[in-house]
C-alpha cells in the first residue's frame, strides 16, 4: 500500500474522513435510477445536500448543481490543505480547456459563451478574457504562454484547428508531469502516468477505428507514460484481439482483457472508458486507510469527480427516460 508519513496533513485527512461519509453510495444512485421521474431522482440530490442552490432548482438545472458541488469540493480542499498549491495539478486541465475555447473562438471569429468554460481554474474566466483582449499572456506560466503562442503560429500557417488541440493537450500533460514531479509524491505521479497511458491507448484505439496510419497517430501521442512510442506503433499494426497479450506483463493486463471483451461485443469504446474510470477508482480505494499525507485529499477530489460523472449519467438517463438497465450498465464504480 502507498503510505506517506506526512503528518502536516493529519488535520486535513481527519476532515476528509468525515465528509467522505456523505458521498453517494451505490444504493443512493440506485434509488435515483429507480425514481419515477427526473424530478424524483433530483430530489435525492437535494436530500444529499448537493450544490448550493438545489433547494430552489429543478431537475433540468442539474448541471448547475453539479458544478456547484464540484466547487464545494475545491473550496474545502483549499481550506484544509496545508499547501493549496499542491492542487494546481488538478486545476490546470480546466485552464488548458479554457485556453482552447478562447483560441478556437477567436480564430473562428465567434463569441466565447460562458457555459463552454470549465471551472474551477487557476485563472478566472475574466482574467483569461482580458488576456485575449489585450493579447498579453505574460501572466500565464511560461509553458502555457509558449503553448498559446505556438497555437497562434501553427494556425496562421495551416488554418487547422485540430493543431490547437494537439499543442494544448501535449502542453497540459507535460505540465502535469512536471507538477507531479515537483510535488514528489509517488501516488500523484502514478495517477498522472495512468492518465497518460490510458489517454494514449484511447488515441491508438480511435486511430485504428478510423483506419489512420502511424504518421497520423504519432502527432497525437503523449510522451512521459509507461510505454515508448514504438510500443504504440507496434499496437497499431495488430488486431484488437492481440492487444491484451501486448499488455500482459503490465499493470493494465486485466483492464485490457475486459476492455477488449466489451469492445468486441459492442464495437464501441464506451465500455473501455468506463473500465478506465473503474481502474482509477480501484487505485483510489487503496488509500482508504491512509492516515497521513496528501493521498486521501487527492482521492476525495477524484472520487468526487467520478461521483459527479455518475450523477450526470443518471440525470441524463432519467430526463431522457432511458431504461433503468441502460443507465445501470453505464455507471462507474462508487467510492463508498
Amino acid at each position: 500500500m502507498i503510505q506517506s508519513m506526512d503528518t502536516k496533513y493529519a488535520y486535513a485527512v481527519a476532515r476528509i474522513r468525515a465528509v467522505e461519509q456523505r458521498m453517494l453510495s451505490r444504493s443512493v444512485l440506485e434509488r435515483m435510477i429507480e425514481a419515477d421521474s427526473a424530478e424524483e431522482a433530483f430530489k435525492v440530490l437535494r436530500d444529499a445536500n448537493y450544490g448550493f442552490s438545489a433547494g430552489e432548482s429543478t431537475a433540468y438545472n442539474y448541471e448547475q448543481i453539479l458544478s456547484e458541488e464540484l466547487e464545494k469540493v475545491y473550496n474545502l480542499l483549499m481550506e484544509i490543505a496545508p499547501n493549496p498549491d499542491a492542487f494546481d495539478l488538478f486545476f490546470i486541465k480546466n485552464d488548458y480547456h479554457n485556453l482552447k475555447v478562447h483560441l478556437k473562438a477567436e480564430l473562428s471569429n465567434q463569441e466565447v459563451y460562458e457555459h463552454y468554460l470549465a471551472a474551477p481554474s487557476l485563472y478566472s474566466a475574466d482574467a483569461v478574457a482580458d488576456m485575449f483582449r489585450n493579447r498579453d499572456f505574460s501572466q500565464l506560466p511560461e509553458s502555457m504562454q509558449a503553448a498559446v503562442n505556438a497555437c497562434f503560429e501553427a494556425f496562421s500557417r495551416t488554418a487547422d484547428p485540430q493543431l490547437i488541440d494537439i499543442i494544448l493537450d501535449q502542453a497540459l500533460y507535460s505540465d502535469l508531469l512536471k507538477l507531479a514531479q515537483k510535488l514528489g509524491n509517488p501516488f500523484v505521479r502514478r495517477i498522472v502516468v495512468i492518465m497518460i497511458d490510458t489517454a494514449n491507448l484511447k488515441i491508438v484505439l480511435r486511430t485504428k477505428l478510423i483506419n489512420k496510419d502511424w504518421e497520423f497517430l504519432e502527432r497525437f501521442l503523449i510522451p512521459g507514460g509507461s510505454f515508448e512510442f514504438e510500443f504504440y506503433q507496434k499496437l497499431l499494426e495488430l488486431d484488437f484481439d492481440q492487444f491484451p497479450a501486448e499488455y500482459a506483463d503490465t499493470a493494465y493486463s486485466q483492464l485490457l482483457e475486459e476492455s477488449m471483451k466489451s469492445f468486441k461485443s459492442s464495437r464501441s469504446l464506451a465500455g473501455f472508458e468506463m473500465l478506465c474510470d473503474n481502474y482509477l477508482m480501484d487505485l483510489l480505494k487503496e488509500t482508504k486507510f491512509a492516515i497521513f499525507g496528501i493521498e486521501p485529499l487527492v482521492t476525495y477530489l477524484l472520487a468526487k469527480e467520478l461521483e459527479i460523472k455518475n450523477v450526470r449519467i443518471v440525470m441524463v438517463g432519467k430526463i431522457n427516460q432511458l431504461a433503468q438497465d441502460v443507465i445501470r450498465e453505464r455507471l462507474r464504480e462508487t467510492y463508498v
Binding site: 433540468y60 441524463v316 430526463i319 431522457n320 427516460q321
Partner: protein
C-alpha cells in the same frame, strides 16, 4: 448565407452543433416559442424542432405555414418519434400538389 437552427431539449439537439447548425436548447414551451420567433426574425431558412416541443407550440408553428422562410421541419427527439413530423409532411405534400403521392402505399 442562410442558416439552419435547431430547437428542442438539450440532449436531443446538441449533436447538430457538430455539423455546423446553430442549436437552441429550451426546456419549456414559452422558451421554445421565443426561440422560434427569434430565429424567424434572424432569417434562418430552416428550423428543426423536436416533435415533443412542436406539439406544445402548434399555434406558433402554424403562423409560419405560408411563408417561404423559415421552413419548419419536425424531427424526433431522443425519446423517440411521435409521427407528427411525417403526418405534417404528408399534409403539406397533399396541399401543394393535391394528392398524397408520398405515402400512398401505407
Amino acid at each position: 448565407m442562410y442558416k439552419i437552427g435547431v430547437i428542442g431539449d438539450k440532449d436531443s439537439i446538441l449533436g447538430f452543433k457538430a455539423i455546423g447548425m446553430s442549436v437552441f436548447p429550451v426546456e419549456d414551451s414559452s422558451a421554445a416559442k421565443a426561440a422560434l420567433e427569434q430565429l424567424a426574425r434572424d432569417d434562418y431558412a430552416v428550423v428543426y424542432i423536436t416533435e415533443q416541443m412542436a406539439q406544445e407550440i402548434g399555434d406558433t408553428i402554424d403562423l409560419y405555414k405560408d411563408v417561404m422562410v423559415p421552413a419548419i421541419i419536425l424531427i424526433p427527439s431522443s425519446q423517440g418519434s411521435l409521427g407528427i413530423g411525417m403526418r405534417n409532411l404528408r399534409r403539406s405534400a397533399e396541399r401543394a400538389i393535391g394528392a398524397d403521392i408520398l405515402f400512398r402505399d401505407e
